[in-house]
């Protein structure tokens, strides 16, 4: 979901000026300015002590491209909201640092499925307290899940722009009330919770590990459910202090955090800094400048172009986020001639993808081979990308009766996305490759909101798009992006409008099975069929670059896009 709605966007000068700007990226403009790098940020400006401030010590400053929307995890859909909630809240399970491996978190162990995957029993950690001093226990877990699941629950609401929509609950668990895959959640004893499911769900434990299903303080929600989103209370490593809209979210260390003695390999330890300031700096160049000038400890949402220059700066380092995303060119199967498989395969062979990935991603991406990224289980390593071969592409076109080529439109997004740093550049490169085999593609773009609306109602011939996963399960890619049920006339996520009953059956089996052997078989087969049918030309798995001061240590970006910063020290 975050793939589109997330806030990890970088605003370029182009965005609000529609002029070429200086044509320089932030880093290029700054040159390899050696100053500021490696300097500890002491509250003041790049090394200047802000006198009179007791808070100047040990502040970790995280720079990002946009402000959060809501700090109630279940009410948020954008990545920049989770960036904050991940610090304040804990889920029952979590993903180990830098991976999508599920580890125990507020639950002391990852439960085994019982009754064929219809029952899960979670043993909870004892002695954990919410930031408001109330106890975390089985009742708290029940309270949260009841609040999300049951539309008649008095707390099934919450302020903010998205009150009571709980979009993620219904997308991951099938809906609310009778539609919810989770039938009931019961407290067996104060530290044991039993989940009963209506049907087995393959990604269930991964869903439970998501940031969205973090456990909030029942007392705080009961006290003021309408304002909880502005005053979040969880059990996490940092406590909420204040939220200055459009500027900064301030958090402070939770000295009583349960995880301080938990193994570091599983994400425990710390918190190591006294304060955490999460700043929004929409302008990308400004954000890079703030990192170079030593105003930020860590800066997210850089352009790949910034990477080489930042690497030259001895005071800074560049960290790549492991890829849980895929960028692709989708062909609309409802539009001729893309209903013919040969044509789609021809497009795959006509485009010199290795060269495009090298030019536009550099070290921050690897060419995509299959339709899920390598961080996801059941990724089929044996599938190789289509070879670049204009000659074979022409043959395929001739076989489809299009030896004279054809005219079409290629749509690209106007702003950089984590999975697509330069939509326009990539589209132009593809256009010139396609021309060589007789396919004349006209380039089309719209403002981002409009682009999403038009592509999700199938108005395009071909379009560039991408997806960032949520729970590290193949279901969260293939079922969302390539099943018939996602190919709706409006709000489609399956923008290729690819409908294959056989693939649908495989994906359904994968979704409902908890047997790793069965899941492996169906997802391997689905990937093979997709590769042959070629509804997309997969481009790359992007590893979004993050810059940090050399002195920052213990920072491990999560593929899911937000990570708890308890392990980071300055």
């Amino acid at each position: 979901m975050r793939g589109r709605a997330e806030g990890r966007r970088t605003v370029s000068r182009r965005d609000f000026l529609k002029v070429g700007g200086t044509g320089l990226t932030g880093a290029a403009l700054l040159g390899a300015a050696g100053c500021g790098g490696g300097k500890k940020i002491q509250g003041g400006a790049g090394g200047q002590q802000a006198s009179g401030s007791a808070s100047g010590k040990n502040v970790l400053v995280y720079g990002r491209g946009a402000d959060s929307v809501s700090l109630d995890p279940i009410n948020a859909t954008d990545g920049e909201s989770f960036r904050v909630t991940t610090q304040v809240f804990d889920s029952l399970l979590a993903f180990a640092p830098g991976t999508t491996d599920v580890v125990p978190w507020l639950a002391v162990e990852v439960p085994k499925p019982e009754n064929g995957g219809r029952v899960y029993t979670f043993k909870l950690r004892k002695g954990v307290k919410f930031h408001d001093g109330t106890d975390f226990n089985a009742d708290a877990v029940v309270f949260n899940f009841d609040r999300w699941r049951d539309t008649k629950n008095p707390y099934h609401k919450g302020g903010g722009g998205q009150s009571s929509n709980f979009a993620y609950y219904s997308s991951q668990f099938g809906g609310f009330d009778k539609k919810s895959i989770i039938e009931k959640v019961e407290a067996v004893d104060p530290y044991t919770v039993r989940f009963t499911l209506r049907e087995p769900q393959g990604p269930f434990l991964r869903n439970i590990a998501m940031h969205q299903f973090a456990i909030a303080s029942p007392a705080a929600i009961k006290k003021d459910v309408e304002n909880f989103w502005q005053h979040p209370v969880g059990t996490g490593p940092f406590k909420f202090v204040s939220w200055n809209r459009g500027s900064e979210v301030d958090l402070e260390k939770n000295p009583d955090w349960w995880g301080k003695d938990y193994p570091v390999s599983k994400g425990g330890g710390g918190p190591k800094v006294a304060k955490l300031a999460i700043r929004s700096i929409p302008d990308n160049t400004s954000r890079v400048a703030a990192l170079t000038g030593g105003q930020l400890s860590i800066a997210d949402g850089l352009n790949p172009d910034d990477v080489p220059t930042l690497k030259k700066n001895s005071g800074l380092k560049v960290i790549l986020r492991p890829p849980l995303d895929i960028g692709y060119l989708a062909m609309n199967l409802q539009k001729k001639p893309f209903d013919k498989r040969e044509v789609r395969q021809a497009v795959n062979m006509a485009i010199n993808m290795p060269k495009i990935v090298e030019a536009f991603f550099g070290s921050t991406g690897q060419q995509a081979s299959t339709y899920i990224p390598p961080t996801v289980p059941y990724f089929d390593k044996s599938i190789k990308p289509y070879p670049y071969s204009p000659a074979r592409a022409k043959k395929l076109l001739a076989r489809a009766g299009l030896s004279g080529g054809f005219k079409t439109e290629l749509w690209y997004m106007p702003i950089p996305r984590p999975y697509m740093p330069d939509g326009k550049g990539i589209a132009q490169a593809m256009q010139s490759d396609l021309k060589k085999v007789g396919i004349n593609a006209k380039l089309v773009t719209y403002e981002w909101g409009t682009y999403l609306q038009k592509t999700s109602s199938g108005q395009h011939d071909m379009c560039l798009l991408g997806w960032t996963g949520d729970n590290g399960d193949p279901d969260n890619f293939l079922n969302v992006l390539l099943s018939s049920s996602s190919a709706t006339p409006k709000d489609a996520l399956n923008v290729a409008y690819y409908k294959n009953p056989k693939v649908d059956r495989l994906l359904k089996t994968g979704q409902q099975s908890i047997d790793p052997g069965v899941r492996r078989r169906v997802y391997y087969e689905a990937q093979r069929i997709l590769h042959q049918d070629a509804p997309w030309a997969p481009i790359a798995y992007a590893k979004p670059p993050i810059g940090s001061q050399k002195a920052v240590s213990g920072y491990k970006p999560s593929p899911t896009g937000s990570e708890a910063l308890n392990t980071v020290s300055l």
Partner: protein
């Protein structure tokens, strides 16, 4: 005079009605569905439909507009789609940042623009006059995003003397009373925060000041030239008064009249939110939220920002006209 002011105030109503209609229908003509944007990528069609209904977006446009007017007449501009808070509250929260930035930028522009304009007029056709003309022209035509970036690179990064972005350093906060950092920090007796806030203000204000600076300079120069050619100035000189005394005591007061108009209009413009400057410096003011709301299709918020800007502009105009009448006895309404 009172009658004139009342008449002018009443004229605001049709202006705002026109503006509100224009912005209301224009905003909705932008493709892109706020419900879809809010719910994100994974939302089902049913969820989107339900949210559209909750937001009242499934009503006919005219019905929506009439509802909007009814509420607006009571001072309720609706709730921001993104934050859920009333638009008026959001604007009020952002207003002090924009006000502080605008006033500071105007102080810089006036403090430099007026004296330089006067000197350029008195020493007409001198080298100094030519240099300031070039400078003014550069200031007017320089793209602000470029200038802002250059300032950041030079003063923020290379020389490392001025802090950015935002209004205070990370982790700093002061109790909010007026919302103006410089005032609140003094009220709290926190001189460290005052200094920090002041330093944060310098770069964005300097960048923003270049917009009105050139205009003020040129306006002062040309009206000063006109006044210096008047009979009474020649009389004053003939009486043997010191040339500079003539310039500052007799001529400047009259020459300032057109300049005041320009200053007023520029204040009105900048207070509407300096979108680019605020975005580059992450200055949490009205300009920044204007940009964000368009991006997020926050209909209510865009309407609020535009109406606020229009109201401000009309009021500033009125104040300028009234000032004019007070300063220039020849003007009668």
């Amino acid at each position: 005079m009172t009658v004139y002011i009342i008449r002018r105030l009443l004229q605001i109503v049709p202006v705002l009605l026109g503006v509100s209609a224009a912005v209301f229908f224009m905003v909705r003509a932008i493709p892109g569905d706020p419900a879809q944007i809010l719910l994100g990528q994974n939302a089902t069609h049913a969820q989107v439909v339900r949210l559209r209904h909750e937001m009242g977006l499934d009503q006919p446009l005219v019905v929506q507009y009439v509802d909007f007017l009814k509420n607006a007449a009571r001072g309720n501009l609706g709730n921001s789609i993104v934050t859920g808070r009333p638009v008026t509250v959001e604007l009020a929260a952002r207003f002090p940042a924009t006000l502080e930035l605008t006033l500071f930028a105007m102080v810089i522009a006036v403090a430099i623009g007026v004296p330089v304009g006067v000197i350029a007029a008195v020493r007409q056709y001198s080298l100094l006059d030519k240099i300031t003309s070039v400078f003014a022209l550069t200031g007017i035509s320089m793209p602000i995003f470029w200038l802002a970036m250059i300032l950041i690179v030079i003063f923020g990064v290379k020389l490392d003397v001025l802090p950015f972005p935002g209004r205070l350093s990370a982790g700093e906060s002061i109790p909010q009373v007026t919302g103006l950092v410089l005032v609140d920090s003094l009220l709290a007796g926190d001189f460290g925060a005052f200094r920090d806030g002041f330093l944060h203000l310098l770069m964005p204000a300097a960048a923003l000041a270049t917009i009105p600076l050139g205009t003020i300079m040129r306006m002062t120069r040309s009206s000063m030239l006109e006044v210096l050619g008047e009979d009474y100035v020649r009389t004053a000189r003939a009486k043997g008064l010191m040339p500079w005394r003539v310039v500052f005591k007799h001529a400047l007061k009259n020459a300032m009249l057109p300049t005041i108009t320009v200053i007023g209009l520029q204040v009105g413009l900048l207070m509407g939110g300096a979108i680019i400057t605020e975005t580059i410096f992450s200055w949490p003011g009205v300009g920044q939220i204007a940009y964000e709301s368009v991006y997020r299709r926050d209909y209510a918020m865009i309407q609020g920002v535009v109406l606020y800007g229009a109201t401000l502009f009309v009021l500033v105009n009125l104040v300028v006209d009234v000032l004019y009448a007070i300063l220039d006895p020849r003007v009668r309404y």
